[in-house]
Symmetry: C2
Subunit: 169 residues, 2 copies
Amino acid sequence: MKLALLGVFAISSLALSAAVFSSAASGVPPENASPIYGVTIPDGYRDWKFIAPAQEAPPLDELRAVLGNDIAVEAYKKGTLPFPDGSILVKLAYKREQSTEFAPATVPGASTTVQVMVKDSKKYPDSHGWGFGRFVNGKPVDAAQHETCLSCHVGNVKDHDFVFTRYAP
Amino acid sequence: MKLALLGVFAISSLALSAAVFSSAASGVPPENASPIYGVTIPDGYRDWKFIAPAQEAPPLDELRAVLGNDIAVEAYKKGTLPFPDGSILVKLAYKREQSTEFAPATVPGASTTVQVMVKDSKKYPDSHGWGFGRFVNGKPVDAAQHETCLSCHVGNVKDHDFVFTRYAP
């Protein structure tokens, strides 16, 4: 992760495995940070705890899984809403492919997007405390795509602190 | 987990979060252990690391996710085959349900089964080192169902140490 940051603000997970940076205040986002929010892919997220799977219908036709850092997972387990500052959720999305080994199964193909939500009520007062990042091949997509995040979350899941995913048993 | 065991053999994950017991040698499996193999649901598995999602077509119509203990995840990351003794994989399966909040998404409904594979080459010499457990509501299903595990894994994934799931990126 590029550390040449101006106006850096870092949140670390309990495991010190995550670092999310933003220089939104400076107006110069780091190369790998999302437009609007300045969210980056947190280090170590692939080893975070599992929250739930999902499937997205065609045309995207994806298998998905949401992982969370310790703060987010603890909030899920305790039913804490809103999610506390420092909560980070990462959605991993894959093209859904037919298994060549077991006919009834579809399995993950290529990674399509990694999507990140970071809770920081001071940093993101205009988006209900959430910062969003949507990444393809490790790079953030454009501002136009990021402008769609908030309205969809606000329109559909305002009663669950703007988070779609529930904790699977 | 019931600890009134005869002829106990325990494997602990690196995080000391897993314990799998069996008294197969004594012929008296503990109440919650699978027939044939004596595998139980490992403590703490729900916090294990995420390996991959999958979908199972109707009639089961499930969303699934496989989690692994540290030994198994390390083997996946390094491409170690066969999986070393102590590896444990847990598949969580859920009824696939339409999301009421986002039309293109299907999400986990009720838990259907929890399925466990334990690698112990000394304990399971007759099943390529793997012990199997299939659980509904925390209780193992019957011997007839457990008799189907091995043949399906042997018939389809003998070149991947009898494990279907691959590590998703």
